[in-house]
């Protein structure tokens, strides 16, 4: 696939410069490293990771890259002595390497750091292309789907525990702490879990503070601490009678179920997004599609895997759903004077439909 891309652009190299916090880097190298390093794929068969000396052995054992070089193998420390600037010495070391492979044109991904891109531009033609691994990552392998299922099962357990906590604690921070600790003990890291109640829930990204009021949004997106995959799930729980909130929740559940019923291979992301808007508008609510700033004001969902938010986006765009994609469907409604509601599941796209990985009833009253 990389070979085809390089040929298409008549380029000799595709470069990534990233740490394993970058999902594309981790996906393509299987190497965990906290600081950024260079990964070079060449049309001449080069498949090379350049790491600090002390990481070389580990890279040889743990990464799936064919060839490992250390910075000192490539003369970095001599360059550092001459140039007296770590970044320049690094860039110069990479330039020498690429020249020795007769590179003329280099492809880089969108998030490639500018300091290095600008330096390379002095020696080569440099072009930004979509990271081909972002596209590859959209379609999950079987083992990846198993990992997302594993996190999804933990999410359902954590939601049951959340419901228990709602009976015991009456404070959003306390409940968030309890649920995140519950997940951590099971081997999952949840951060910024949303436990948002009352008017605070009208802010879709507020994690929530203070007393639990008439209703509460619970949105959790943990990562497995062993394999690194995410899943994502939201439910809105009604604690006290609130007619407006309940009507909003009914509309959102209808929109979400309608959307899920249409997810299958070949459907455009924007068809799903527009369907959600159709349902919510037909119930008299406002949507982002018509430029409103209250109502349904975000996208319908996103891909999920090694990142919480990854491609495709379920929104106004040209993305097409394909079997093997794992996406969220998460409509919501938000009104500053009323509050917010949201319902979200993570699903795997199949040839003729989809499989819900986070099954749990949607209308919950305590």
């Amino acid at each position: 696939m990389l070979y085809k891309l390089l040929k298409k652009y008549d380029a000799e190299f595709f470069l990534q410069y990233a740490s394993s916090r970058d999902a594309n880097f981790y996906y393509s190298t299987s190497f965990k490293i906290p600081d950024p390093v260079l990964y070079a794929i060449g049309v001449d068969g080069t498949d090379l990771l350049v790491v600090p000396e002390m990481e070389k052995d580990r890279a040889e054992k743990e990464s799936k890259v064919k060839e490992i070089a250390s910075l000192s193998d490539l003369g970095y420390y001599e360059n550092l002595k001459n140039l007296k600037d770590a970044r320049k010495a690094l860039a110069f070391t990479y330039v020498s390497l690429l020249k020795s492979h007769k590179a003329k044109k280099i492809l880089i991904p969108p998030n490639f750091p500018s300091f290095l891109a600008f330096y390379l531009k002095n020696y080569f033609e440099v072009e930004v292309v979509e990271n081909p691994f972002s596209k590859l990552r959209m379609i999950k392998r079987k083992d990846e789907i198993e990992k997302i299922k594993d996190v999804s099962a933990a999410i359902i357990e954590s939601f049951k525990y959340f419901l228990k906590c709602l009976r015991k604690f009456r404070n959003c921070e306390e409940i968030r702490n309890e649920v995140e600790l519950f997940l951590f003990k099971m081997g999952y890291l949840a951060e910024d879990t949303i436990v948002a109640s009352g008017l605070e829930s009208a802010n879709p990204h507020s994690i929530g503070f203070g007393k639990v009021e008439d209703h509460v949004i619970f949105d959790v997106f943990p990562k497995s601490r062993s394999h690194g995959y995410f899943s994502d799930f939201t439910r809105t729980v009604i604690l006290n009678e609130n007619k407006k909130i309940e009507e909003m929740l009914n509309a959102v559940i209808e929109a979400q179920e309608t959307a899920i019923s249409k997810v299958k291979d070949g459907v455009k992301a924007k068809e799903i997004h527009n369907l959600v808007c159709d349902v919510l508008e037909s119930r008299g609510y406002h949507t982002i599609r018509k430029g409103f700033k209250e109502g349904f004001i975000h996208s319908t969902g996103h891909g999920i895997g090694l990142e919480v938010h990854e491609e495709p986006r379920i929104f106004e765009n040209e993305d097409v759903l394909r079997a093997g994609m794992v996406i969220t469907i998460e409509p919501g409604l938000y009104y500053k004077k009323v509050g917010g509601v949201r319902v979200e599941d993570t699903v795997v796209v199949k040839k003729n439909g989809c499989e819900i990985l986070t099954p749990y009833e949607k209308k919950i009253k305590l």
Copy 2:
């Protein structure tokens, strides 16, 4: 400070495009956001954060940036309809904004994403400069030092708990899990905590696996889950007589204490690093300074704060230690056929010395 920088380069804007995972972005905005957004500082007084519509209210409440605009305020959705490409529409939206402020020259930090830098280059002069917030972040304010002290105190508790675990469990994975859970309960997130024993400890970044053998390196660098600051600490514990390891540990303790005794305002980072090399070489060990690939093969330390590894680097460079910097001093020795040892403390640089934030005895035999 920014104004001076812009004047120096005769530029109209300094731009950051990052999420709050980027410490410079978080430090300069105080805004937590999972996906990248634009933060623009202009010589004309502009201090503007551009966020998705649904984050606008939260940004106005939580960030310390003067002015917040949403993407829809700036016409992003019209641009998206015309250009049908999210990244192009975004870049075009920013170009229009910058043009309306009569920008001609733009400064960007080294890690600024290339897709946006290359697009801006079509309209403006663009130059990469060191991120001025990296330099600012090196000198910690009092409240930042208090936060690092808070994490450091938790580290010492976790080390005492680690010593208890060493008596109960005999497996590196189990001990790591126990200690990380202990810290999580206290409100700290430790990931990739090193519990490395036997020959595995010769790999400085191996997190360690399998049975606890004759000695064990414990290296923990948790982040507070409330305020986000890190601290860093390492001890090597001897469980069974091992003459070579004990000699190495004695040398490393001497090197570390000598280095710490010389840390104060005005001293060059490389003087500290060379002092460590001097001590270790005088004891007959190999060092990176002489090009060896076993022995002392990494830098002496690094700044720490909102990132585990940040400026300054305690290595061969021109960095000068200044009062208020928080750094680690962490010499180690690694021989493939013997194993590794390391001792590390986090210290605050003072006018006439330094304060150790992670005080604990260094020679530990169980």
